[in-house]
Amino acid sequence: MKVNNKYKILLVEDENNISTLIMTMLESSGYQVIQARTCAMAKTLFVSYCPDLVLLDLGLPDMDGMTFLEDVRKDSLTPIIVLSARTNEKDKVLALDAGANDYVTKPFGAAELLARIRSTLRNYSHSAESGKLPGGKFTVQDLEILYDARQVFIKGKEIKLTQTEYNIVALLSEHCGKMMTYSAIIKGVWGYPDEGSVKKLQVNMANIRKKFGVKPGEATYITNELGVGYRMNSD
C-alpha cells in the first residue's frame, strides 16, 4: 500500500552512471523512480505509468529531449524538470518556453536536485487547486501580496511599487517556484515583446530588488538566472 503513496518520477537520461546516481538519490528520499534511456521508451512509460514528475535530459540518443517535451505538453500538465549544461542558456530558454517547469544545471548536487523536485511538486499541486481566488493572498517568507488591493508587504511593511513592478511581482508569484523566461514575463506584463524589452524587464527587476531591500547575490525572494529568466522562490 505504501508504495502507491510515493510520488512517481520518470527519469529520462541516457548516461548510465548519471541515471543510476540520480535514481539512488531519489529512491533514498522516498520517491519511486521509473527509468527511461531513450525518447521512445520515455513516451511509452509516460503513458503507462502517469508519473507525477519528469526529469528530462535534453541530449538523448534517439530524439532530442525537446521533442519529448513538446509531445508531453500537447495533452498533459505533468511537471517537467530539465537537466542541462550551463553554457547552453539558449537550450534552457527553449525548454522553458516549450513548457518545462524548471531546470537543473549539470553538474548538480543531491541537495539542489531534491530541492527543485520538492518545490516543483508542491507548486504544481498548489496551483492546481488554488487558481486565483478573489481576496487571494500570497505569502512566502516575509513577503505578502494582496492581489485585490494590489499591495505588497515585507515583514508587514508596505513596499511602494510602480504599476509595472507590481505586475511583474504578481506574475512571478502566481507561477511561484517556476522559472519564467524573459519572454514569458514580458508577454505576461507588457503583452508584446519589442526591442529592448529584456532591458526594460531587467531595469524593473533591479528596482524591485532595491525596494525589497535585497542585496545583490542574496536571492531572498526572487532568483535571477542571467540570460534565462526569474523565479519566485517558494521557500
Binding site: T87, V203, M205, A206, N207, R209, G217, E218, A219, L226
Partner: protein
C-alpha cells in the same frame, strides 16, 4: 566587400599624397636651380609608395607616372617627352625595377607576418592544451584513487576517514567543474570567431547573478560591493562576463594570502564601465605581474607545488578573463595597490540609456 573598397581608396590616397609631395619638392628644387636630384626624389617617392601600399600595382603606377613626370617636366628637354635621351631611359628603368622589387619584398614580409601570427596562436593553443591536460590529471588521480579505495576496502576505514576521502573527491571534482567551465567559455568565443553576441545587460542583474554563484561556492567569503546608484546598461555576453568577475573574485580567494577584505567596485568613467576587484592580501610578485594574463601558465606551474590543487586554477582563470574581455573590445589590467594587495580592473563600453521608461 566594403573593406576591400576602403583599402583601394586608402592605397590610392597614399599614392597621391606621396606623389604630390614629390612634385612639390621637385618644383621647389627646380626653382632654386638644383635639378640634378629631382630624379632621386621621384625614385624615393616610388620606393615609399611601394612600401606603404598593398601589392605591386600602386608602386608600378607611381613608377610610370613618376617616369613621365620626370621626363616631361623636370629634365632636359623641359616640358616635352623624350626617350631618346639616354639618362631619361635609365631613370625610367631604375624606377620600374625599384617599384617591382619593393612591392615583391613588402608583400612577402606581410605574408610572412601573417603566418607568424597564426603559428604563434597555434603554439599558445597547444601550450594551453598541454598544461590543461597535465593539470586535469592531478584531480582525476585523487578521484579515481579515492573511489577505488572506498569501493575495494571501504570497510577498513572509520566513518571519519571515509568522510575525509569523500571530501577529497568532492573538492577535486569541484575543481574540474570550474576548469571545464573556463574551457567552455573559451570555446564559446572560438566558435563565433567573427564576434561574440552582445545583449544589453543591466549591471545590477549581472552583479546579482555573479554574487549568487560566488556565495554558493564560497559561502564564508564576504564581498563588499560598491555599485553606481543609477541603472547602467552594458552590451555583453553576460555568461562570459559573469565568468570573468567570478574568476577575478576566486583568484583573490585562492591567492591573496592574508586577505581580510575583498571589494568589487563598479564605476562609470565617460563611456566606459570599469569593474575593479581589489583585495588587501599579499599582492602579486613583480616578475609575475607582467605576464599574469597570458603565457604565465607555465610560470605558475613551475612555482607552485602541483600537489596543492587549490593553486591550479589561477593560470587558466586569468587568461580566460583576458580572452573574454578582449573579445568584448575591452581591456584588463593587474597591479599592486600601494597600500597593499592586488587590484584587477577591466573595462567595457556602456550603452547610452534612452529615457523611454
Amino acid at each position: 566587400m566594403k573593406k576591400k573598397r576602403h583599402d583601394i581608396w586608402k592605397n590610392i590616397s597614399v599614392m597621391a599624397v606621396v606623389f604630390l609631395v614629390a612634385s612639390g619638392s621637385s618644383i621647389i628644387l627646380q626653382k632654386t636651380g638644383v635639378h640634378e636630384h629631382i630624379t632621386a626624389i621621384f625614385i624615393f617617392a616610388v620606393f615609399l609608395t611601394s612600401i606603404l601600399t598593398d601589392g605591386y600595382i600602386y608602386g608600378i603606377i607611381s613608377a610610370l607616372v613618376g617616369t613621365l613626370a620626370v621626363n616631361y617636366a623636370y629634365t632636359y628637354p623641359f616640358y616635352a617627352l623624350d626617350f631618346k635621351f639616354q639618362s631619361n631611359l635609365i631613370s625610367a628603368v631604375v624606377m620600374m625595377s625599384i617599384a617591382v622589387l619593393t612591392g615583391m619584398l613588402t608583400t612577402q614580409v606581410k605574408a610572412h607576418e601573417a603566418i607568424k601570427a597564426e603559428s604563434e596562436k597555434e603554439r599558445m593553443r597547444a601550450n594551453l592544451l598541454r598544461a590543461v591536460s597535465h593539470d586535469i590529471r592531478t584531480p582525476l588521480t585523487t578521484i579515481y584513487g579515492a573511489s577505488t579505495t572506498l569501493l575495494e576496502s571501504g570497510d577498513n576505514y572509520t566513518e571519519e576517514q571515509k568522510k575525509k576521502i569523500l571530501k577529497g573527491i568532492q573538492e577535486d571534482s569541484d575543481w574540474l567543474m570550474r576548469m571545464v567551465e573556463n574551457l567552455l567559455s573559451i570555446t564559446r568565443i572560438d566558435e563565433g570567431r567573427i564576434k561574440i553576441i552582445k545583449t544589453p545587460t543591466v549591471l545590477d542583474e549581472l552583479i546579482d547573478s555573479v554574487m549568487l554563484k560566488f556565495h554558493k561556492r564560497y559561502p564564508q567569503q564576504e564581498v563588499s560591493l560598491e555599485l553606481p546608484e543609477n541603472i547602467v546598461v552594458i552590451p555583453m555576453d553576460a555568461i562570459l562576463i559573469e565568468q570573468v568577475i567570478f574568476n577575478l573574485l576566486e583568484n583573490a580567494v585562492l591567492h591573496a594570502e592574508g586577505m581580510t577584505k575583498l571589494v568589487l567596485k563598479v564605476f562609470v568613467l565617460g563611456k566606459q564601465v570599469v569593474f575593479e576587484v581589489s583585495d588587501n592580501g599579499c599582492g602579486i610578485e613583480k616578475e609575475r605581474l607582467s605576464g599574469i594574463f597570458n603565457g604565465s601558465y607555465h610560470l605558475f606551474e613551475g612555482r607552485t607545488p602541483s600537489s596543492d590543487s587549490k593553486k591550479h586554477n589561477s593560470g587558466i582563470g586569468l587568461s580566460v578573463c583576458q580572452t573574454i574581455v578582449k573579445a568584448h573590445g575591452g581591456a584588463i589590467t593587474a597591479e599592486n595597490n600601494p597600500a597593499g594587495g592586488a587590484v584587477f580592473r577591466f573595462s567595457l563600453n556602456v550603452e547610452e540609456m534612452n529615457e523611454s521608461e
